[in-house]
């Protein structure tokens, strides 16, 4: 389990299988929501996560164990839905408010 303060999140990487499909979509939506906070949101294939600079990793639950394997030291938040997900919304609000974010 890893924790990071929402205020210090400046780089988010959204991961998916190929790093070109669903992750791009989610990254675009997040970037829009976090524009005011100056957070950069990028996307990556889950196998290449350790080549990315990130404070926080987001990926679907189905890829969660591989993401954690790739970057064991990072905060990896898994979500269930690509649209309107509770965890993603929570991450966004915690970054906006500066609260701690942890993957449990």
């Amino acid at each position: 389990m890893a924790t990071i303060s929402g205020a210090s999140v400046k780089n988010i990487v959204v991961a998916c299988e190929a790093g070109m499909g669903s992750s791009v979509m989610v990254a675009k939506m997040l970037a829009k929501q976090l524009k005011a906070q100056g957070v950069a949101v990028t996307h990556s294939p889950v196998n290449q996560l350790n080549d990315t600079a990130h404070d926080l990793v987001l990926c679907h639950r189905g890829l969660g164990s591989r993401a954690k394997q790739a970057v064991p030291g990072s905060v990896v938040i898994v979500f269930d839905m690509f649209l309107g997900d509770l965890r993603i919304a929570e991450v966004v609000s915690r970054i906006q408010s500066g609260d701690d974010i942890s993957d449990d």
């Binding site: 299988e17 190929a18 979509m25 196998n47 969660g64 269930d80 509770l86």
Partner: protein
Amino acid sequence: MANFIPTGDGGHSGWRASVQKFGGNLAGMVIPNIGAFIAWGLLTALFIPTGWLPNEQLSSMVGPMIINLLPILIGYTGGRLVHGQRGAVIGSIATVGVIVGTSIPMFLGAMLIGPLAAWVLKKIDAVLDPVTPTGFEMLIGNFSLGISGMLMAILGFLGIGPAVNAISDVLGAGVKVLVDTGFLPLASILIEPAKILFLNNAINFGVLAPIGAVEAEETGKSIMFMLESNPGPGLGLLVAFWLAGPKILRGSAPGAIVIHFLGGIHEIYFPYVLLKPIVVLAAIAGGATGVATFAATGVGLVATPSPGSIFAYMTMTPPGNHFGVLLGIALSAAVSFVVAFFILKATSSGDDAADLDAAKAKSAEMKSGTAN
């Protein structure tokens, strides 16, 4: 918070992560090069003798692209994944050996030898780097790559090419038996559940596309490109979730339908099925219906449609095949909708946990404006 998702948790199933990872590597070699596949597919659809605008001169690009360019790109990308730019270069060199050793499109061979050659070079570099005298880095670097590249190309020519050729023959013959005997729709029993587990790219780009490419090179089209990528079953499922799913999921379904069917991002519907795993039966029924229709009408696509959007499907459909392709997509969507609708109606009680969590999600979404 998500205990109601019985099969979506990647945390406890190491085998699935391993298979996904392996498949992810296969897909990782193909997906970055899809643009080249599309260029080749368009050239094929337009200019071959049975295409829209037959043109002998322009169609002369079709063969070199699928025989040489696409496998080399795959070998290049596979090498780059293992060992950066040097891996990419040796992966390309070695792939040429595999290509020349056979007469069929060597996607599988390139997927093998690209990373293998890069791995070998990585080991060689690990030995040579520490003992390279200052000023000799470029000399040793270039010649270690050149010599090992030559050797890997020879290995590809003599060993891997013929071996993969034999494997492709067996796979192709097996598929032909499945098609001829009418058993091909049964493939959906494996493919649809595997998709939901995020093995979609592994199946499509690792298994089906290489087999399909061999067939498409010979006959101009292949049904193998359509087994996994048909957007029909997902469309039917999402419409069923929209009309009869757990109440709170209904709101996001229309957006998901657009992203899935028009945008071609199939991943968007997997979570809905993971919430109600039994609905995978609808995906199987829809998928099998689609495959049966495609087979019965004798249609195929010229190249793999990626992403699996209706637009990519129409673009990759050769002349005269549009009716069968559209019919297969429509029927698969209709069947998957009917089955999913029935299942969702029959099991609509006992959703409380899902509804509650989804309700929370909805309200959080309202707060943060995710709905944009």
